[in-house]
């Protein structure tokens, strides 16, 4: 049995991510995910349950950040292996979301912290695995 490939290098911590989801994102993402919950689509319902307006799907934000991380890792020869997060507060369309990344407890982990209007809305940890050496390589550096 051959030796397991040894990872080389590491994927650097991504640059901060900032974007402003447009007002129609909840409607569009409801089509994608099929989550047509009223708090994402109906201002009156959202207001009734104490929200300032319709809210973004958490999975929209999760997917946006995951794709950003995946592209970043891919650009450095690695890949997104996992991403876990907690949704800390409702997120609104039309307000910028700012995401910061920091090195986590391991060389492959990245801490993710997202804020909207200076309020924490999402926190988590992603694992970005580095490239593997090409077949036949014995360089473990």
């Amino acid at each position: 049995m051959g030796e397991l490939p040894v990872p080389v290098g590491e994927v650097p911590v991504p640059a901060p991510l900032v974007w402003e989801p447009a007002a129609d994102v909840p409607r569009d993402y409801a089509r994608v995910s099929r989550d047509h919950s009223a708090v994402h689509l109906d201002e009156a319902v959202a207001s009734r349950v104490g929200l300032p307006g319709v809210i973004l799907h958490g999975m929209y934000v999760y997917g946006y950040v995951a794709t950003y991380l995946g592209r970043h890792a891919d650009g450095h020869g690695g890949r997104l292996a996992s991403f876990e997060c907690r949704f800390q507060a409702p997120m609104l369309p039309g307000v910028p979301i700012r995401v910061r990344f920091e090195r986590g407890d391991t060389r492959e982990s990245v801490r993710v912290e997202a804020r909207q209007s200076d309020r924490p809305v999402l926190s988590g940890v992603a694992v970005l695995t580095p490239a593997l050496p090409s077949a036949g390589s014995s360089d473990a550096s």
């Binding site: 640059a15 901060p16 991510l17 900032v18 974007w19 402003e20 989801p21 447009a22 007002a23 129609d24 994102v25 569009d28 993402y29 089509r31 994608v32 995910s33 099929r34 989550d35 047509h36 919950s37 009223a38 319902v45 349950v49 799907h57 958490g58 999975m59 929209y60 999760y62 997917g63 946006y64 950040v65 995951a66 794709t67 950003y68 991380l69 995946g70 592209r71 891919d74 890949r79 997104l80 292996a81 996992s82 991403f83 876990e84 997060c85 907690r86 949704f87 409702p90 369309p93 039309g94 910028p96």
Partner: protein, 220 residues
């Protein structure tokens, strides 16, 4: 905190379906949307399951059929779900009214077997981005949440946490089957929490995605 709905029967229903090891299944083909290789999810007719007979199948309701996805695609938005107005660091651009289910081309060049129900003729050119896997998982989770036997108080439901682990690339044209089931159930001071676990498999039975979706049914 005042509880405006009765958690006891909800907890009982969740526990009952978990004890019965109910599972919910969805199946999607990831179709290319255009020549650029952008992809979207498409329903797959009921048929052979990669899970065979070893899993008990529950009700698969809860994801009402959607209209056909049409339109172009071309985006550089990380989520590639149309133009959401971002001009931030990600370069989210205007995609001009395209299908929000479309996901962008990452061009990894990985190949995957998508025979059988998959679109083998179209497969093996590009890996789809994580945003599509997320939507695929969400559809599977909704199959559980919308099961009429649970009768969940949706006005109180929030998505509390999510984790996903990618085990294998998912390529355009692949047929992906996802099984979902109820995991941990816990009553807290402010909410009832429960996990919906998901596992997604390619047509040849390889697990490509594993997830846990934590839902919170808030008291009050």
């Amino acid at each position: 905190m005042t509880v405006t709905w009765d958690p006891a029967p909800v907890l009982a229903r969740l526990a009952a379906l978990r004890e019965r090891q109910e599972s919910w299944r969805t199946r999607e083909i990831i179709e290319p949307a255009d020549a650029l290789g952008h992809a979207r999810l498409c329903d797959v007719p009921a048929g052979r399951s990669v899970f065979g007979d070893r899993e008990k199948e529950g009700v698969t309701g809860g994801t009402p059929p959607d209209g056909p996805d049409v339109g172009d695609h071309g985006g550089e938005d990380p989520a590639d779900v149309g133009d959401h107005g971002g001009e931030g660091l990600t370069g989210a651009g205007d995609h001009g009214g395209e299908d929000p289910a479309d996901v962008g081309d990452h061009g990894r060049g990985d190949r995957a077997d998508a025979g059988g129900h998959g679109r083998g003729d179209l497969t093996g050119t590009r890996e789809v981005p994580p945003g599509l896997a997320v939507a695929l998982t969400m559809r599977a989770v909704l199959g559980v949440l919308h099961d009429h036997r649970l009768d969940l108080p949706f006005d109180h439901n929030v998505h509390a946490a999510q984790s996903l682990t990618w085990h294998a690339p998912i390529a355009v044209g692949a047929s992906i089957e996802t099984r979902a089931w109820i995991g941990r159930i816990k009553e807290g001071a402010r909410a009832v929490f429960f996990d919906v676990e998901t596992e997604s498999f390619t047509e040849d039975g390889r697990m490509c995605l594993r997830g846990t979706s934590t839902q919170a049914l808030r008291h009050g």
